[in-house]
């Protein structure tokens, strides 16, 4: 099943994904949840860029005398993913500010108690 593990980077991608996920699952502070989600997105970006790169490539700017380039398509996808991640986080943070305005706290436990 494990074949040859291509590179340490894949381990880091999975590690970051788990760390972010752990933050989202266990932290009761909403901002920490936003940070967790951000870390998970970053891990996916890293995976995408890592898939585009193979050792000895050069950046996908066409110039004479260079034969193998990094794959431009995943890098374009990463750009789009970065911007989508940014806007999602911006909206999430404004939701958090709004929740604080109505519930006076950013902690999920207190919000639940407030709601009861």
């Amino acid at each position: 099943m494990w074949g040859e593990i291509v590179d340490f980077a894949y381990w880091v991608v999975v590690g970051l994904f788990l760390i972010g996920f752990f933050g989202v699952l266990t932290d009761t502070n909403l901002i920490k949840i936003a940070i967790g989600l951000n870390i998970m997105e970053a891990s996916l970006l890293l995976l995408l860029v890592r898939l585009a790169f193979s050792p000895g490539d050069s950046p996908p700017i066409v110039s004479e005398g260079i034969l193998n380039y990094a794959d431009p398509v995943p890098q374009a996808l990463t750009l789009t993913a970065i911007v989508i991640g940014a806007s999602t986080t911006a909206l999430l943070l404004s939701f958090i500010i709004k929740t604080y305005k109505y519930y006076g706290s950013v902690d999920l436990k207190e919000i639940r108690r407030m709601e009861r």
Binding site: M1, W2, G3, E4, I5, V6, Y10, W11, V13, V14, G15, F17, L18, F21, F22, L25, T26, L47, R50, L51, A52, F53, S54, P59, P60, I61, V62, S63, N68, Y69, D71, P72, V73, Q75, A76, L79, T80, I82, V83, I84, A86, S87, T88, A90, L91, L93, S94, F95, I97, K98, K101
Partner: protein
């Protein structure tokens, strides 16, 4: 406490399973060799679109529809934030930082603006493009907000101009796309729709890509500035 340990166990298993899947991915070089898309773009990218920077070529020509969708994502996020903080504009009258900071920022601001312009306009030649340049402009407005206080920023670029810029940028993008249809080709066609490819490496090369870059740059800058301004302003509602 139990939730932490349960989460740890489940995430560990998830990590193992995902790692198992990742391990079966082919090597990037091997995948690139037999993938039709990247082989075509790498070989005929420059001749097709006239842009040297292949990432921007992919972003604004081969997969231009993605970029339109994604620009709308920023538009939606900005609209969402404005909707959430929907109170009449009330800029906080914070005085901003010390006069030293204000003086230095006044010197620095034009250079930041020009850098942003450079990134936007030369997107198809050097690394960069509409998004990165737009975000640089947005950070410029954020800088002004922090240093001079939101009151100054409100007078300098008030929200009406920001909304105007944002909408105009978006509509410009769509109009450039419709030119493709008008010229008988498909939506968002570039060279095939009669835009001049020009000499690769020059500023004027790349057909509609620089124009698209500019439209996206304006849009992203206005959108993110709007988001930041609405999040910062004192929420009366």
């Amino acid at each position: 406490m139990i939730r932490k340990s349960v989460a740890l166990v489940i995430l560990a298993i998830l990590g193992l399973l995902v790692m198992g899947g990742l391990a079966e991915l082919p090597l990037p070089a091997e995948r690139m060799s037999e993938s039709v898309t990247s082989r075509h773009i790498l070989s005929e990218g420059v001749s097709d679109t006239g842009a040297v920077n292949l990432v921007t070529a992919v972003l604004f020509d081969y997969r231009g529809f993605d970029t339109l969708g994604e620009a709308t994502v920023i538009f939606a996020a900005a609209a969402g934030v404005v909707l959430l903080f929907f109170r009449h504009d009330l800029p906080t009258s914070r005085l901003g930082l010390s006069s030293l900071a204000k003086r230095s920022i006044m010197v620095l601001a034009p250079f930041v603006f020009v850098t942003g312009l450079y990134i936007v306009m030369f997107g198809h030649v050097t690394p960069g493009g509409g998004f990165q340049g737009g975000v640089v402009w947005a950070t410029l407005t954020i800088l002004l907000c922090i240093v001079y206080g939101t009151a100054f920023e409100w007078r300098f670029i008030n929200t009406r101009t920001k909304t105007l810029l944002e909408s105009l940028g978006a509509i410009a993008f769509i109009l450039l796309g419709l030119v493709g249809i008008y010229r008988g080709d498909f939506f968002l066609s570039n060279i095939a729709a009669g835009f001049r490819a020009g000499v690769p490496g020059e500023l004027t090369s790349g057909g509609a890509i620089p124009l698209l870059n500019l439209a996206i740059g304006l849009k992203v800058a206005a959108g993110l500035a709007l988001i930041f301004y609405n999040m910062v302003k004192k929420d009366v509602g």
